[in-house]
Symmetry: C2
Subunit: 265 residues, 2 copies
Amino acid sequence: MSSLAIAVFDSGLGGLTVLKVLRDHFPGENFVYLGDTARLPYGSKSPETIHKYAKRNIDFLLKTKIKAVVVACNSASAALRSHPVAAPVPVFEVIQPGAEAALAATKTGQIGVVGTFATVSQGAYAKCITSLSAEVTVHSQACPLLVPLVEEGWIDDPLTNLVVNRYVGPLLNKGIDTLILGCTHYPILKKNFRKVTGPDIQLIDSGEAIAHKLQRAIAHGSVAPNTGGRGSFQILTTDKTARFAEIAAYLLGEQNIPTVEVVDV
Amino acid sequence: MSSLAIAVFDSGLGGLTVLKVLRDHFPGENFVYLGDTARLPYGSKSPETIHKYAKRNIDFLLKTKIKAVVVACNSASAALRSHPVAAPVPVFEVIQPGAEAALAATKTGQIGVVGTFATVSQGAYAKCITSLSAEVTVHSQACPLLVPLVEEGWIDDPLTNLVVNRYVGPLLNKGIDTLILGCTHYPILKKNFRKVTGPDIQLIDSGEAIAHKLQRAIAHGSVAPNTGGRGSFQILTTDKTARFAEIAAYLLGEQNIPTVEVVDV
C-alpha cells in the first residue's frame, strides 16, 4: 500500500468533476489537485502550447510526493496522446477510457463527441475510437461556448439549453445513440444535455470512465492503493481566482474544502 | 518626425479593432501588434497575473524599435493604472480616454460600463470617471460571455442579442444615456448593442477614444509623427492560433495582411 497522493490536473475548475468521482470511488486515497488558472482555458490554444503547459504541470506535480497523475483535461490529454511524456509514475489520460466506454455503450455504431476546439480539431476521440473498432462512425462538434457558460454559472438556464441544442442538434440528426462529454466541464451541464438529447442517448462522462481505469490499475498492481483510513485532498491553482473556492466546494459537493493555495508553475 | 513603430498589444484578437481605428487615423504610421494568445483571455484572471503578463508584453515590445505603446486591452489597462510600469516611451491605456469620452457624452450623468470580469471588478472606469467628475453615477456590468461569442463568430446572431440583452437590460433600467464598451472585443458587437439599447444611448468605443488621445500626444510633441508616406504593420502572437489571420483580416477590413509571426514572450 502507499499513502502517496494521486495528482489530478486540469486547466481550471472543470477537473474537479473528475476529482469528485475519484474521491467517491477511492475514499481512502490522498489527492492533490492542480488547476492551471493562470493559463486557462487550454481548449482554444494550439496543441504545442497545451503540451508545453501540460508538461510543466506534470513536472511540477512530480516534485511533490505522488504515485500517479490523472490528466483531467481532454485538451491536455489529446496533446499528450500525440506526444507522450516520460514519467516515473503512471500517467492516466481521459480520452482512451471515454472512447472505450462509448464503444461499450453504442448499439448503432454512431458515436457523437462534444469537446473544446483543441480536443475536436486534434481528432483525439475519433482517432482513438476508430483504432479500437473499424465499425463505428464518430461525429465531432467543438463547443467553445460551454466552458464560459459554466464559468458564468448559467447552468439551470434556458439560454444554455439553446446553446447546447445548437451544438448537439446536428449530431442528433446524424443518428448518434451515444454522446461523449469530451470536456471535464460538461458533466456540470448534464441536465442541459439530457434536455436536448432526450432519455435514449447514452451520455459518457470522462470522470466515471477514468475512475474505472484507475480501479483496474489498482487491481493489476500498477498503482498501490492506500488502505489507511479516510483520504485527504489539497487544491492548488496557478492564479488567485475569484470564487474558485466557492465553485470548487459546489463541484465537489463538500462544504468544507481546504484553503486553495496559489503556486508558481 | 520618427518612422519608429507604435506598438499595440492585447490579450488576443480584440485589440485589432483598436489597430484598425489607429491605422484609419494615422495612415502614415508604422505599427507592430502583439496578441498574447498563449495566455488569453486576461479578463477572467487576477489583477496580479494580468499585470505580470502586461509588463512582459511591454518589456518585449520595448526591445523592438518603437516610439509608443498602446495598451489596447481594458483588463491590462486597469491593472497598469493601479501599478504603472516605467517605460522610456509613452504608454497609452484605454480607460482614461474612454472615461473622458463618456463624460463628454452624458447628459443625464448616468453612465453604464460593460467589460470583462477583471475590468469591472477592479472598478477601473468607475474610479476614473468619479475622479474626473463627482456628479455622475457609474453602473457596471461584467459580461464574460461576450468575448467567447465573438471568438465563436456568432456575431449577427439572435442568441448573441439575447446574451447582450441579459447583460445590458439592467443598466438600461437604471436610466443610463451613455454606455462604455469597455473591452476591445465589444465594438465587433456594436450592432447587437444597438439593437438592445435603441438609437438614443451613446456607445463609447475605446479605439476611437484612444485615437483622439494619440492625436493630442502628437500635436503636443510627446509622440513624433511619421510623415514619410504609407505606413506598414506587423502582427505578432504568442501562440499559433487557428483562424487568427482570417479573423484579423476581417477585423482590420483588409484582404492582404502580413503573415502572423509567433513569438516567445
